[in-house]
């Protein structure tokens, strides 16, 4: 079970013409164990694509199957329950906060999905501790904390619904490098301990190289690459994707030029340092 896109198109209607945001998308996302990064330049259709995953948008042609439910739905089919299974965190999610206290805001999601108040609070507390919100902050107003903490509270609001698939639209946008690493580590931990599928839109190639397992590249609404991260950077058409290489690659390429250290594909800082330790000049 998971999400299956079959020949999906989506058109936005405008005054004069219809614009195709995504074209002929075929994509399978497993319900467990995947860590997918969706890449592509601005306007490539990334946000449109992920909004199909939790039934916020319906395909104008083609079918999306989310946990056995076909979209667009037939009449009388309810879709709201899908949003519990596929949790979507938007860009700048801190704007969605509205409750009086942090813990109530986190519990808003589970409450909407008909869990009892106690259960919702339990889930909220679990989610809060997963994102590192301390118990002493539970009763504070979500509008009186720092931007980075607001982002965590918002993410916790989605986590508290206990979704099987977590979809994130640029979760690190507007955060400093430290905040970025902290937020990404939260998702990594969730992925590793609970084996949840994570789908993430990003422009940051270092996040891709460090965390993602699979990469989907969109260009002008079409999927031009779908495969393992290791295959992306060596892909013959890589230059046409308009993507950068990660810092580790840049560093090793520079070292190869200046010092003659042979280039090797390394994806994380640890891999890089391990490799460099073994190099003899």
């Amino acid at each position: 079970m998971g999400i299956k896109f079959k020949n999906v198109n989506h058109e936005y209607q405008s005054f004069s013409s219809n614009e195709e945001a995504i074209k002929d998308i075929n994509l399978n996302v497993n319900g467990t164990g995947e860590f997918i990064a969706i890449l592509g330049h601005t306007g490539a259709g990334k946000s449109t694509l992920v909004q199909h995953m939790n039934a916020l948008l319906y395909p104008t042609s083609g079918v999306v199957n989310v946990f056995g439910q076909d979209l667009p739905p037939r009449k009388k089919d309810k879709v709201n329950h899908l949003r519990q299974k596929v949790g979507l965190v938007f860009q700048f999610p801190e704007y969605q906060l509205f409750e009086n206290t942090i813990i109530e805001d986190i519990a808003f999601g589970p409450k909407n999905f008909k869990s009892t108040k106690d259960k919702a609070l339990d889930n909220a507390k679990k989610a809060a501790s997963a994102v590192g919100i301390d118990e002493s902050m539970y009763e504070q107003s979500p509008f009186r904390i720092s931007g980075g903490q607001m982002r965590r509270v918002a993410v916790a609001g989605i986590l508290a619904m206990d979704p099987s698939i977590l979809v994130l639209d640029e979760p690190t946008r507007g955060l400093d490098p430290k905040g970025r690493d902290e937020v990404m580590d939260i998702f990594k931990t969730i992925h590793e301990t609970e084996n949840k599928t994570i789908v993430l839109i990003t422009h940051d190639m270092d996040i891709v190289s460090r965390y993602a397992k699979r990469v989907v590249v969109l260009k002008d609404g079409e999927i031009v690459f779908d495969g393992l991260k290791e295959d992306l950077f060596t892909h013959p058409d890589f230059n046409t994707f308009n993507l950068e290489v990660p810092t580790t690659f840049k560093l090793l390429k520079a070292l190869e030029e200046k010092l003659g250290i042979p280039f090797k594909e390394t994806y994380t800082r640890e891999e890089l340092t391990n490799y460099l330790k073994g190099v003899k000049l």
Binding site: L56, Q84, Y95, F98, F108, M161
Partner: protein, 327 residues
């Protein structure tokens, strides 16, 4: 989301090139002239109304506004126009009746059933059919015709006796509202919001004598117009974000909906306030001082065309006033 306010259509016609002040003043003059025509069935008044309607059509053609846009600006009023017309038909009793004998209309089980069926069919198929406005008129006509046609299993019968006068007066109001909308939307079609804003500021400037801060109101107006699309965009984002947390307007009960609105309103308020603060900082950083004298990039000057336009509209209004007093 579709919004028709302030929808500028850049066709660069002679109407577009007129000074915004000319257009606003002319609009006011023409509207005054239009509303000076008394609602009556005398042929002079009908000719006057026809002239005004004709003038507005000519102006739209001069402005090269696509006919589709004109019609779509009238569409929101279809219901109001039809309603006014029907009310006239029922209330005006003067003049000669159209039919020799009053029509007896029946609210019967059969006619009510037929009407309900008709409305259901209309609502089911209207999305797929062209000429929706025309269809609406046909629907309204059929609703009345069915009451005449199907007297079986009577519940209530009333007499419907429209007079020639009532039809004329109904059409009179119909055309007057239409002309008003045409003229007003012509202003927004041919004038950019910044120009409009300057026009209003200029026209209201006499109020400065009474210490009304016209320039502040003008700035507020232009900021409001500028931020409508932005706020709509933000609202849509918040709706989607809350929908992702399980808030769904489509699938919940009315009781829940009221609570759910709070989940939308608070974030939207906060975004608006944040945006307003950022904007005021940005304006101050670029040297905006409240109440200070400001210069403009575009200087507005009355040209020959403006004087001609003003002269024409003053002339039209004067003629209408004279006719109103004399006749």
């Amino acid at each position: 989301m579709k919004i028709n306010i302030g929808q500028y259509i850049p066709t660069n016609s002679i109407i577009h090139k007129l000074d915004p002040r000319t257009k606003i003043i002319s609009l006011i003059l023409l509207l005054v002239a239009l509303f000076l025509i008394p609602v009556s069935t005398s042929s002079l008044n009908l000719i006057l109304l026809g002239t005004m309607f004709f003038i507005s059509i000519i102006l739209s053609m001069l402005a090269k506004v696509p006919i589709g846009k004109l019609i779509s600006s009238l569409k929101p009023l279809t219901f109001l126009l039809t309603f006014t017309f029907i009310i006239q038909m029922f209330t005006i009793k003067d003049g000669n009746p159209i039919f020799n004998n009053p029509l007896s209309m029946h609210l019967s089980l059969s006619s009510i059933a037929a009407i309900i069926l008709l409305i259901v069919l209309y609502n089911l198929f209207k999305r797929r059919l062209p000429f929706r406005t025309l269809l609406f008129f046909i629907l309204v006509f059929l609703i009345f015709y069915l009451q005449y046609l199907l007297p079986y299993v009577k519940i209530f019968t009333y007499e419907f006796n429209p007079t020639v006068d009532s039809v004329i007066r109904g059409s009179f109001l119909f055309f007057r509202i239409m002309t008003t909308i045409l003229l007003t939307s012509l202003l927004t079609f041919t004038t950019m919001t910044t120009d409009l804003n300057y026009g209003f500021e200029y026209i209201l400037s006499p109020l400065k004598i009474f210490k009304v801060r016209v320039e502040v109101f003008a700035m507020m107006l232009s900021l409001i117009l500028r931020y409508i699309p932005t706020l709509l965009f933000e609202t849509e984002k918040i709706i989607k974000a809350q929908a992702s947390r399980g808030l769904d307007f489509n699938e919940s009960k009315l009781k829940d909906k009221i609570m759910q609105i709070i989940a939308l309103l608070i974030p939207i308020f906060i975004i608006s306030i944040t945006r307003a603060e950022e904007l005021s900082d940005a304006m101050e950083a670029r040297g905006y001082v409240l109440g200070a004298k400001r210069t403009r990039i575009d200087e507005y000057r009355f040209r020959v065309g403006d004087f001609f336009g003003l002269f024409l509209s003053v002339g039209i209004m004067a003629t209408f006033i004279v006719l109103r007093i004399l006749v």
